[in-house]
Symmetry: C2
Subunit: 131 residues, 2 copies
C-alpha cells in the first residue's frame, strides 16, 4: 500500500501521515522503487496503528505520550507478563479519566435536577471536584 491509498484507508491527510512518520509513530518499509527516495509501503498493521493513535488522541494523550506508550508496549511484547503489566497501567490511566468524566456528568446532571426542582440549596458545587 502506497501513501495515498493509506491516506484513504485511515482517513488521514497525507501531510499528517508524513508528520507521524517523522515523529516515529509510523514506520513504513521502503520499496525498491523510487530511486534515491524509495517509496514508503504500508501494511494493514499500520492502518491499525493509525487508528489506535487516533483513539488515544481522543482520550487526551499527546503524540509524545502515545509514542512512549507504544514503545513501552513493543518493548514488552516478547513477555506476556510484561505486556499485561503495560496494558493495566493504560487501563488505570483511562479509569482515572473516566472518573473525572463521571464527576463532570453527575455535576451537570445534578444541576439539571436542581433547576427542574427549583431547589437552589441543593445546587451542586464545582468546588467539590478537585481536578
Amino acid at each position: 500500500m502506497l501513501i495515498s491509498e493509506f491516506a484513504r484507508a485511515t482517513d488521514l491527510p497525507i501531510d499528517t501521515i508524513r508528520f507521524y512518520i517523522t515523529k516515529g509513530l509510523l514506520k513504513p518499509e521502503r520499496s525498491a522503487k523510487g530511486g534515491s527516495n524509495p517509496y514508503q509501503v504500508f501494511k494493514q498493521e499500520d492502518v491499525t496503528a493509525a487508528r489506535m493513535i487516533r483513539l488515544q488522541q481522543t482520550l487526551g494523550y499527546s503524540l509524545g505520550e502515545i509514542l512512549a506508550l507504544n514503545e513501552e508496549y513493543r518493548a514488552g511484547e516478547h513477555s506476556s507478563e510484561r505486556t499485561v503489566e503495560v496494558l493495566q497501567v493504560q487501563i488505570a490511566r483511562l479509569e482515572e479519566k473516566k472518573a473525572a468524566l463521571d464527576a463532570a456528568l453527575s455535576f451537570l446532571r445534578g444541576k439539571v435536577d436542581w433547576i427542574r426542582a427549583g431547589k437552589p440549596d441543593d445546587a451542586p458545587r464545582i468546588q467539590d471536584y478537585h481536578c
Copy 2:
C-alpha cells in the same frame, strides 16, 4: 481578592490567569486602586469559573470551545428552560466521550483476557472501533 491570592486559590500560575483574562475566560472587576492600570479584583465566583475551566480542559475541550460553552450558558441564564437545554447538550457531548473511553477500556481489557487465556483468535481488533 487580588491576582496573587487568586493564583493561590486556584493553583494557577499568574501568567496563565492573565492569559485567560485576555481570552475572555475570566472577567475580574477593576478596583479603584492601581492608578492608570487599575488592579484586577477576583470574586469567589471566579474561583469556581477557573475550576470549571480546568475540569473542561481535562475533558478535552480547547479554551475556545470552553469560552463558547460558557457564553452559551450565560446567554441562557435568564431562562431555566434554555439553561437546561444547554446543560443537556453538554451532557450529550460528555456521554459521547465516555462511550469512546468505554470502547477503549473494553478493547484493552479484552486484550488482557486474551493474553491470559492464550487464545489469539479471540484477540480484540482495533478495527472495530471507528473513532
